[in-house]
């Protein structure tokens, strides 16, 4: 059975149909051809598929696409303003918080959601915000550096 989904993604109203069993991640990647959110564990453990759903970071792989109806969703594609990267994206580049890059969109979305809540995150806030994102390359230190740098830039401290 097919369902019609009327949603807003990165500020754009979108209407499309999908099988009822489709996950939000499959809807983004396969129906809308938005490949920025990554498919990895597909069980809600690794965070590569993280999107912001009505202001909160969620795993799109374990969310029903039909739940996007009437919701506002932000994906990695919605962060840059033309050629100008979002401060979180720029901070990941400047601190070298990227290696293979597969987990990066999920991290950047989780960090954006954190910095939307506070621009003075504590060590505990940072750990909580990205504890659902797994990176197998960097060893996490540079990611934490990136989060501090992005927070400082957004708050005008750097």
């Amino acid at each position: 059975m097919s369902v019609t989904i009327n949603t807003k993604i990165n500020g754009q109203p979108i209407s499309a149909s999908a099988e009822a069993s489709t996950s939000l991640l499959e809807f983004l990647r396969d129906t809308l051809e938005m490949k920025g959110s990554k498919l990895c564990c597909n069980t809600g453990e690794c965070g590569a598929c993280t999107v912001i759903y009505n202001g909160r970071p969620i795993n799109s792989c374990v969310t029903l696409a039909a739940d996007a109806n009437g919701a506002e969703i932000t994906t990695i594609e919605g962060l840059a303003d033309g050629d100008k990267l979002h401060p979180v994206q720029q901070a990941f580049i400047d601190t070298g918080a990227v290696q293979c890059g597969y987990c990066t969109p999920g991290y950047i979305i989780s960090v954006k959601a954190l910095l939307d809540r506070t621009t003075k995150p504590t060590a505990e806030d940072i750990e909580e915000a990205v504890s659902g994102n797994i990176c197998r390359c960097t060893g996490y230190n540079k990611i934490v550096d990136a989060i501090h740098l992005a927070a400082d830039r957004i708050a005008g401290r750097a």
Binding site: A20, S23, G44, E45, N59, V62, E128, S131, G132
Partner: protein
């Protein structure tokens, strides 16, 4: 796969009555979506998230009423839960990732009836009750009798859990929830132990003791023999040792990819000892003598 988004409880109940065994209820979806992708698609999916009035957390006399669609994050960030029900708060706080806590519902965690469900041992020691809706009417049932086996509850295939009523523990009581897992909160618990004690007025003996064990039996259980052993007594080193060993004996854990049954029993013993020690100190201000 058929798909329904009932707007009212009545509509949802008649869909479940009509589609019965074929129907799967979905709320947050963090478990159901994994089943759909990795096991099999149900004949029909009933999404209950559009039903109004099933969320929220409110104080209601001497208890807290938690709507079944309240997310684990709602529970974790509720100051009422943190102040009045720290045992439940701890289990919500140690519940997977922020992304999952933002989506998963407390009703889903309960109705899934996984022995390792994070909130279940705390709800058992808090003597919480569920409000169950069927097309024939509503009933209230303590969670002590609600769980019937892995994935099986007294809701059967036709009922819905609408709210959870959690009485505030007695004045002077102290509780903890201890979880053992390899990767902290992200991991499914190998063992979860909830302890809630109330000392007598002079703070010399255990007037009430409740011990809940998760992930070590087909359902979450209370260690009732251990509780009976401790009730009315002062906590000594010898009694603590005996109680911890008894709690381990009351568990009947399986061996699986997360750990062996034997190891789980050792952990039940260690966490029960730790939980009793911590709550005794917090409630009486005394060391275990």
């Amino acid at each position: 796969m058929d798909y329904f988004e009932p707007k009212s409880l009545d509509e949802a109940l008649s869909l479940l009555a009509k589609h019965g065994h074929e129907a799967k209820v979905i709320a947050g979806g963090t478990d159901v979506m994994v089943d759909i992708k990795y096991k099999e698609e149900p004949g029909c999916l009933v999404n209950i998230k559009k039903i109004s009035g099933l969320g929220g957390i409110q104080e209601n006399g001497g208890s807290l009423r938690i709507g079944s669609l309240a997310t684990i994050r709602d529970v974790e960030t509720s100051s009422l839960v943190r102040d009045k029900l720290p045992v439940l708060w701890e289990s919500a706080h140690q519940f997977a990732s922020l992304q999952i806590r933002n989506t998963a519902t407390i009703g889903g965690n309960i109705c899934r009836a996984s022995p390792s469900g994070e909130t279940l041992a705390p709800l058992l020691v808090l003597e919480a009750k569920g409000k169950l809706a069927f097309s024939e009417g509503e009933k209230t049932e303590p969670f002590m009798s609600f769980f019937q086996g892995p994935g099986k509850t007294s809701l059967g295939t036709k009922g819905l859990l609408t709210e959870i009523d959690v009485p505030f523990p007695a004045e002077g009581s102290r509780g903890v929830y201890l979880k053992h897992a390899v990767r902290g909160a992200m991991d499914i618990a190998m063992v979860g132990v909830a302890v809630l004690i109330t000392p007598d007025a002079a703070r010399n003996t255990l007037q009430d003791v409740r011990i809940g064990l998760g992930a070590v039996a087909p359902t979450p259980i209370r260690a009732s023999k251990t509780e009976a052993l401790l009730r009315g007594k002062s906590l000594t080193v010898a009694l603590l040792k005996e109680a911890a060993a008894m709690a381990a004996a009351e568990s009947s854990p399986i061996s699986d990819q997360r750990s062996s049954g034997e190891y789980r029993r050792w952990i039940v013993e260690a966490l029960t000892r730790r939980g009793l020690e911590q709550t005794w100190k917090a409630a009486t201000g005394k060391e275990v003598a």
